[in-house]
Amino acid sequence: MTASMPDPASRSGVLLETREVGKSFGSVIALNGVSTVVNAGEVTCVLGDNGAGKSTLIKILAGAHQHDTGEFLIEGEPVRLSSPREALDRGIATVFQDLAVVPLMSVWRNFFLGSEPRKGWGPFSWLDSAKARATTKKALSEMGIDLRNVEQPVGTLSGGERQCVAIARAVHFGAKVLILDEPTAALGVKQAGVVLRYVAQARDRGLGVVLITHNPHHAYPVGDRFLLLKRGRSLGCFDKADISLEELTRQMAGGAELEALEHELRGMGS
């Protein structure tokens, strides 16, 4: 991980922007009129209940889904990504919630899947497996994961190690934007700390980061902007200055409504 800084000009630029983006699956409206921006050198956190549409939103950003309504702009240019490949080619790397690893394949093959380094000419090119292995080992050990063997199938790794492989891959290929869908869910507190530190580091290198999490305690320390989703709609997009950790926690847990319920339950309780 070379610490080369991108030129300051792009640091403050708007990398991604969605304007009233919406998406339906058949008759299910998963996302409706959501607007947000991802700036270079900033972390945008997306928070919300299960099924709020967080994954759907970032799948649109990552090219895995196409939006039905609204606009999606990359560096000011309206686009419609047709495949994850295209997003990757534009420098947007994603860690999907379901990780997008192939359990039976070895670690290094998973690491480079879809972006394999090659040697040779044209149709007779082959995998530069030595380089791929070395790069994988290096990228993982920089995350503090020291695998005995990068030939090991990913399916034999623990959930946390697997998560780290996916994150290390995204960091490695993420040229401009890094999207992480609940990266800390499968991790213990220590590993979660490492991931958050990574996020901060990527931000400092000038990347735009989108971080999805259920845990306001994870989101608040690193986030610059908080997009709250609920049942496919935006509850608002707050700057860090405008919202406190307590307010964020309450919002996410559906605080106000719960308080009313709590009273009721106490009333009927034993």
């Binding site: 379901d98 990780l99 690893v101 920089e142 994961i145 695998l147 090991q152 623990s158 580091q201």
Partner: protein
């Protein structure tokens, strides 16, 4: 940076070590091949004679070419029941064009290749487009091709076979490539053995050393994940179906040029042999795991067993029984190996 999080997960207990050895998919087939080889070498005299060796290598060769292609397809998570009849269809196309229309052999081979690739692409397209299991789609093409083979052959020739390739223009040169023999120490080995070794080598190389190979494992192991990281899943799978069709064309061409005649009902039932060879070679029926070399060795086991039984002068009535038991034993052993390997690695 690098805070040492380290793999010291207190939740992971002892990890087996010797078990690491058993994780290669082809291990079972290599052991099986050794066992069959030793068994028949001891039991019969002719098995190890140069001619005997040529004999079982010959038998394994065309089966092996197909097994490698079918293994790639199976690793990619799909199935092709039409692969057996395809070997006959391609031979028939070549033979009809060359003998009935008098085309040059090379041209006939080319058209037959285009036909094969077309059928393969159709198979793949149907499977990917409809999302139906490939078992049912290729069962449909299997039946359709079987009908076409018989119907068209009878329509064109009035008989159920097409022969007379030897007289076709360009037969000599094409035969040299597909159907000649190579003399080694006085025994002639058919060139199909070279094709078989080539197929196994290329298959292994593609699988282990190229980007496309990486994609094959990925689309068979977890297609949605593969798509998510930018692997062109549809293209990869269609190409795999076309690879199988290509192999069927190769085998069909070898057969028609070597035997100069082809029967309309040839190839039926062979698709199971391909699948069995691939499975014996360690391929997972559900995709994502396996090896091309393993499949080639699976075919070798098949060929050795088949000829060994003849050398041993066993009653061939029981061959199928033997085959069924061998298949069950092979998958049970492979399965046990894999389970041990997995347990060890958890």
């Amino acid at each position: 940076m690098a805070l040492a999080v380290q793999g010291d997960d207190e939740r992971v207990a002892r990890v087996g070590l010797a078990d690491r050895l058993v994780s290669r998919p082809e291990l079972g087939s290599v052991l099986g091949a050794l066992a069959v080889f030793v068994f028949f070498s001891v039991l019969t005299d002719q098995f190890l004679s140069p001619m005997g060796v040529a004999n079982w290598l010959d038998d394994s060769s065309t089966l092996g070419i197909m097994a490698v292609a079918v293994a790639l397809l199976m690793i990619g998570g799909e199935f092709d029941l039409s692969a057996g009849v395809m070997t006959a269809s391609t031979a028939l196309v070549t033979a009809i064009l060359a003998t009935q229309l008098g085309w040059n052999t090379w041209l006939a081979l080319l058209v037959s290749l285009v036909f094969a690739l077309g059928v393969g692409a159709l198979n793949g397209w149907l499977v990917m487009r409809t999302g139906l299991p490939s078992f049912i789609v290729t069962l449909g093409t299997f039946l359709a091709l079987q009908g076409l083979n018989l119907g068209i052959t009878r329509l064109v020739t009035g008989s159920v076979q097409v022969s007379g390739m030897r007289e076709a223009e360009g037969y000599e040169s094409a035969g040299y490539l597909f159907a000649s023999t190579v003399d080694v120490g006085g025994t002639s080995f058919p060139i199909s053995i070279v094709w078989w070794v080539l197929a196994a080598a290329v298959g292994s190389w593609v699988l282990m050393r190229t980007r496309f190979g990486n994609w094959i494992f990925a689309v068979g192991g977890a297609a949605p994940s593969a798509r998510a990281v930018g692997v062109p899943v549809v293209r990869t799978k269609i190409l795999l179906f076309m690879t199988t069709a290509f192999a069927a064309w190769l085998v069909g061409s070898i057969n028609i040029l070597r035997f100069t005649t082809v029967q309309a009902n040839q190839g039926i039932g062979l698709e199971f042999q391909f699948i069995i060879a691939a499975v014996i070679g360690g391929c997972l029926l559900t995709g994502g795991f396996g090896s091309a070399i393993g499949a080639a060795i699976g075919a070798l086991i098949f060929g050795m067993a088949r000829q060994g039984i003849v050398f041993a002068q066993w009653d061939s009535d029981w061959f199928q029984l033997f085959l069924g038991i061998m298949l069950l034993a092979a998958v049970l052993v492979n399965n046990a190996f894999r389970r041990r390997a997995e347990r060890a690695k958890r």
